[in-house]
Amino acid sequence: MSEKIDQLYNFALLDEDAKREIRRKLLKAVALPGHLVPFASRDLPIARGWGTGGLQITLAIITPDDTLKVIDQGDDESVNAVNLRRLIGRTTGVATTTDTASASLIQTRHRIPEEPLRADQILVLQVPMADPLRWVEPNLERATAMHSESDYGKMWVYMYESVVRAGDLRIASQYPVMVNRRYLMDTTPIPRWDVPKLHMAETLYLFGAGREKRIYAVPPYTLVEPLQFEDYPFRTEYQPDQRCARCGAEQVFLTTHFVPDASGGRWVSTCSDAAYCAKRLAEAEALL
């Protein structure tokens, strides 16, 4: 095929008007930490629910100088991460990396990398359900009114009931947080382990919900406080005896998976942040 036909699409796929709309909404999102800003959300060549919100933010802000990292479940090689990276790569030609420290722009689903993020990096999170009030008020018209008045009484009642029944808030991931003491925000399905990383962070967090057509943001150095009761404080998944079976890391989020071996196989817990785990192993090996 000739070069002309090859370059059928605009840089970063979206047309310039679509990018501009997202950029305008991102600025408002940053100025209103935790507030859901509606955006048009264009159709994309990947399915709704597969990261179209995060993808649209990435495509609207990416420049040719960026170095991109894409992860899903903390893993660069997860099939959906591979697919999104392929699409962004083919439509921008930017450099990609698996090393968190070398990336200027990171798109993620379900995790925040273990390595501390810096001020010169941006983390874009893919969001399936944008409104934290959906558990108690699925109607958006009414939920929007509740947000506008910081009227979160229903949410506290929901939390109370769940503590009485289960001894803990039943929301495992997507834990609700108050941002800048004003807006209740959904943390997307990141595990609770990652929630404190949003609080007074160095880096800028951008959230995109493509199907729900909402954008929101947590700027750096912003108060992000999980909803909790004095006698039932917020707890992460951390267990004192936890340890990655591969690299030995303890202060990380672990996932359990099956490893086949000579005797049939066993279940082990390893870092969900695959690149971090690999980096630690490489460092340990270099010391030997």
């Binding site: 370059q7 709309e21 040719p64 750096p220």
Partner: protein
């Protein structure tokens, strides 16, 4: 990997880079960003004695298209819709020139216009994002010495200091006046060296008396 997309044109490249600077400045009030060189020249004068700050004009234009509106001011007064510079911007962006209370974007060509800031829209409780984004041109932004503003709020670790030399006391007071959150105007201050300061509505601004 096969490329299926063209590389950005110079204007698109500017818009992309300028946006990252604006985003960074708004996310980190007090940090001084450097805007890229404007991708054009030859914009009409603002008034007989004043050339526009092209970096500020280009940064503002990078966010304009047919779906949004804008308004401009110079010498403490609103500029007419048929002003050559307004027409020049409209022709290149398709954005509508409208009355101040309706404008999605405002471009103040000098700090004296800060007296007009109260006329811009600040959003509603249901839609606080429907507020004006303001670009203000100033002579300079002092990086180290001569702190005139002390900033606190989201995006700032403890407290940030910044100097705006040449602004009068009433101008600084108008700039520092914030509306009750979540309503408010989000401001970019841009100087003659294309340096940029972001002041989102979340930033509390305290004047430092010298």
């Amino acid at each position: 990997m096969t490329q299926v997309a063209a590389q950005p044109t110079p204007l698109e490249r500017f818009n992309g880079h300028a946006f990252r600077v604006l985003l960074d400045c708004l996310a980190r009030p007090g940090k001084i960003g450097q805007l890229p060189s404007p991708p054009f020249s030859g914009a009409p004068s603002v008034s007989n004695s004043k050339e526009p700050n092209l970096a500020a004009v280009a940064a503002c234009m990078s966010l304009l298209d047919q779906t949004v509106s804008f308004v401009q001011a110079v010498d403490a007064d609103w500029m007419a819709a048929d002003h050559p510079l307004t027409r020049w911007i409209t022709l290149r962006t398709n954005a509508r020139a409208v009355a101040p209370a309706l404008a999605d974007f405002a471009l103040f060509h000098d700090p004296s216009c800060l007296a007009l800031i109260g006329e811009l829209k600040a959003g509603t409780l249901l839609e606080p994002e429907h507020s004006c984004t303001l670009f203000v041109c100033v002579p300079g932004i002092a990086v180290d010495a001569d702190v005139t503003l002390r900033l606190t709020g989201p995006g700032i670790k403890d407290v940030a200091g910044v100097g705006l030399p040449g602004l009068t006391q009433p101008e600084l007071v108008a700039l520092a006046q914030r509306r009750p959150f979540p309503l408010g105007i989000d401001i970019f201050v841009i100087d003659q060296h294309a340096r940029c300061l972001g002041l989102p509505r979340t930033t509390q601004i305290e004047l430092v008396m010298n």
